[in-house]
């Protein structure tokens, strides 16, 4: 069993490696297009929401910390569920705030059709949001499973969930700094 979980971890790391290359492609595409457009943001377009997203980034980062706490509590055989619930709540919060921001941007006239500036935002941030949603579903699945079993779950599955979540969270600064800040 010990070996099987190591194999799973290896598989996950390989998958994440190919995901990193995917985001590297996406972000370099962003830089190539952006470097060719003199006015950024183009006239009449809203700025990408810098401040709200800074706050949102803090929420995302704290979710990684709480997940780390959950794992630690589990290894000490203490109550880890509350930490896991906080993590799921923080992750959902991040997604909801992102969604609200999207609606605001659309209302301010940042569309997709013929708009490379808007398109880049929606594609890069949208793809990341999908990854957050995927990671979140894994965490919710683990949470529901351990609520149902009423016994502590195996630390291996939580570790896999954590590694993927760490990838999703640690990816975010590259997107935040690249798109919003600079």
């Amino acid at each position: 069993m010990e070996n099987k979980s190591k194999t799973k971890l290896l598989a996950l790391i390989l998958f994440i490696a190919s995901e990193i290359m995917f985001f590297a492609g996406l972000l370099s595409a962003y830089w190539v297009i952006r470097s060719q457009i003199p006015n950024w943001p183009p006239p009449g377009q809203p700025r990408y929401p810098l401040e709200v997203t800074a706050f949102n980034s803090i929420i995302l980062f704290s979710s990684l910390a709480t997940l780390w706490m959950a794992e630690k509590k589990l290894s000490l055989k203490r109550n880890y569920l509350s930490w896991l619930i906080v993590t799921v709540a923080a992750g959902s919060c991040f997604l909801i705030i992102q969604g609200v921001e999207w609606f605001r941007l659309i209302q301010q006239g940042m569309g997709l059709i013929g708009n490379v500036y808007g398109g880049l935002f929606y594609v890069v941030v949208g793809v990341h949001a999908l990854h957050v949603a995927a990671g979140l579903s894994v965490l919710i699945y683990l949470l529901l499973k351990s609520l149902k079993m009423k016994t502590a779950m195996e630390s291996d599955s939580l570790q896999l969930g954590k590694v993927y979540w760490a990838f999703v969270v640690l990816l975010w600064p590259f997107i935040y700094v690249g798109l919003y800040v600079i």
Partner: protein
């Protein structure tokens, strides 16, 4: 297995790596028929312009574009990848490292069925309004990003969806290969005792996994261009068409090695067995391939020398392109040295393996002319390039697959394929292939652009029309030569001569398992004592020593 399996779980939704491997091979061979049919259709048009094609009718210009595009797409993604990497890889890799199955059998089954759906998606694009995509297999924008062009309406998004599904499937396979190799090797199977095919399949998987991401990113943006008219790749909207070419070839060129490496692995296994000699420079081949794997990420822009990239970028890419031929030249020399002085047994599999080396060398050597910027600017997008990559890909995909099929058929089905018909198949295939592709070098140097629908419309090409005719007649023969193969394949499956465990007297572990191996592969867990290439040792009775034999 104590549980009795129904037909459905044994042959259709099987988690056995061997069944999955055979499923990949058979679906790949079926797709090859589609790809071959398309080649027949557009080659007929090129040799006899605007005439009615038997079995098709008159080929319109836009359908010509679709046929060429889909031929390339199918042959690379739905024939070469599934047969060479997923087919042989799935079947052989666990057996060769001495594992009972893949690390993730369910994921393996899923990968095949995702692949199956991707094939259906691609085929369905022939039947949608405006037909299959016609922008070339490289799907360059702005052609592919603008709904005004051929097949962009329905065909293009379907193409992207099919390719994305196919890549998801290959990603699952690749993860399975690497985890299986790293964690499930038999006792004593160190990394440097693994057969070359296992090395090659793993390096190929790594190359694929690290290169595919940027293409998916590009494809996603292209899809957004097609569906929402964003304009990422349309200059008039602030986008950049060159960007897509970079993203495409960042994957597209490593992809060449994703196909080449498993093929080199298959050829290495076959030539050592049939020359009764150990492979020459085993570690050197492995290190060369690792170097080539790294270099393969640094050559992509040589596809874009005439696309308007900065000459200061073109020069280093020309250099890396010439450089990457060095590790493969080393590998090729090692193979030739392995043949040298051996007691060569000319079985059908061996003939195909040797012909692969010979014809691939022609393809490799002509690649130098495309890699050098100066000559490439003249050759670019002519039939010279088409001839070049068919001289690499035809040996990689077809000659190698045939070699592998004739070689491992006794293991897979427990029966031999007929050798006489095999040799007839070999000679006609190997010779006619040269008639198909050799004339194209000359047409290309004469200035025939590769995407011309009707060469007879151009004054300067009129004198070279006979070369197109030779090429097309060669193709008729080549396709005809596959009839004995198909018959041989299916008849031998049921009626062929029965094979023993180790009919070719080979060393690798798959030959220690029964023919065909049951679910779980080995009767007793193998223990490995030596590397796989101990042939014709001194002071031994037989001229081979299986890996399980103690020293």
């Amino acid at each position: 297995m104590s549980k009795k399996q129904s037909f459905l779980t044994k042959y259709i939704f099987s988690q056995d790596h061997k069944v999955v491997g055979v499923q990949y091979m058979i679906l790949g061979l079926l797709m090859a028929l589609v790809g071959g049919y398309l080649a027949y259709v557009f080659r007929y048009q090129l040799a006899y312009p605007n005439q009615s094609i038997p079995g098709y009718g008159v080929l319109e210009a836009d359908k010509y574009n679709s046929a060429v595009t889909m031929h390339g797409t199918i042959m690379v993604f739905w024939v070469a990848m599934p047969i060479l990497l997923s087919g042989f890889g799935n079947y052989l890799l666990p057996l060769m490292v001495g594992a009972k199955d893949m690390a993730f059998p369910k994921l393996n089954m899923l990968s095949f069925w995702v692949f199956f759906v991707s094939a259906l998606t691609l085929i369905s694009s022939f039947f949608v309004p405006e037909g299959a995509v016609g922008g070339g297999w490289t799907t360059y924008p702005p052609l592919m990003a603008n709904p005004g062009f051929t097949g962009v309406g329905w065909g293009a998004p379907l193409w992207i969806l099919a390719v994305a599904l196919e890549f998801a499937s290959m990603l699952m396979s690749g993860i399975n290969f690497l985890t299986t190799t790293i964690t499930m090797r038999a006792k004593g199977m160190t990394f440097f005792r693994m057969p070359l095919f296992v090395w090659m399949a793993n390096v190929a998987s790594l190359i694929f996994m690290f290169s595919v991401g940027p293409l998916i990113a590009g494809a996603l943006m292209l899809l957004a261009d097609q569906l929402f008219a964003v304009g990422f790749f349309l200059p008039e909207k602030g986008g950049d068409p060159l960007l897509f070419q970079h993203l495409f070839w960042f994957f597209g060129h490593p992809e060449v090695y994703v196909l080449l490496l498993p093929a080199l692995g298959i050829v290495a296994e076959i030539i050592t067995v049939f020359s009764r000699k150990s492979i020459f420079g085993y570690k050197m081949i492995i290190y060369s391939v690792l170097v080539a794997g790294v270099l393969s990420f640094l050559v992509w822009a040589h596809h874009q020398f005439v696309s308007g990239i900065d000459p200061r970028i073109a020069a280093p890419f020309g250099l890396t392109t010439i450089l990457i031929s060095v590790p493969f030249a080393i590998t090729m020399f090692a193979y030739i040295a392995s043949l040298w002085g051996g007691q060569v047994r000319f079985s059908t599999a061996m003939l195909f393996a040797i012909s692969m080396i010979v014809e691939f060398l022609l393809g490799g050597v002509t690649g130098i002319l495309n890699g050098a910027t100066a000559s490439d600017i003249y050759m670019h997008d002519t039939y010279f390039v088409v001839a070049h990559f068919h001289y690499t890909l035809f040996p990689i995909v077809f000659l190698t697959s045939f070699a592998g099929i004739y070689f491992w058929f006794p293991k897979i089905f427990g029966r031999f394929m007929n050798e006489t018909w095999g040799k007839i198949h070999f000679w006609i295939t190997a010779i006619s292939a040269n008639f198909v592709f050799l004339p194209l070098f000359f047409v290309g140097i004469a200035g025939n652009h590769r995407r011309i629908y009707d060469p007879s419309l151009f004054e300067h090409l009129k004198d070279f029309q006979y070369l197109h005719v030779i090429s097309t007649i060669g193709l008729f023969v080549l396709i005809g030569a596959q009839v004995p193969f198909i018959l041989n394949f299916f008849i031998s499956m049921f009626k062929g001569k029965k094979a023993t465990e180790n009919p070719w007297e080979a060393n690798t572990l798959e030959w220690q398992a029964p023919s065909p191996p049951g679910h779980g592969n080995f009767i007793t867990d193998p223990v490995v004592h030596r590397w796989p290439y101990d042939y014709s040792l001194e002071n031994t009775e037989k001229d081979w020593c299986p890996q399980t034999e103690a020293i």
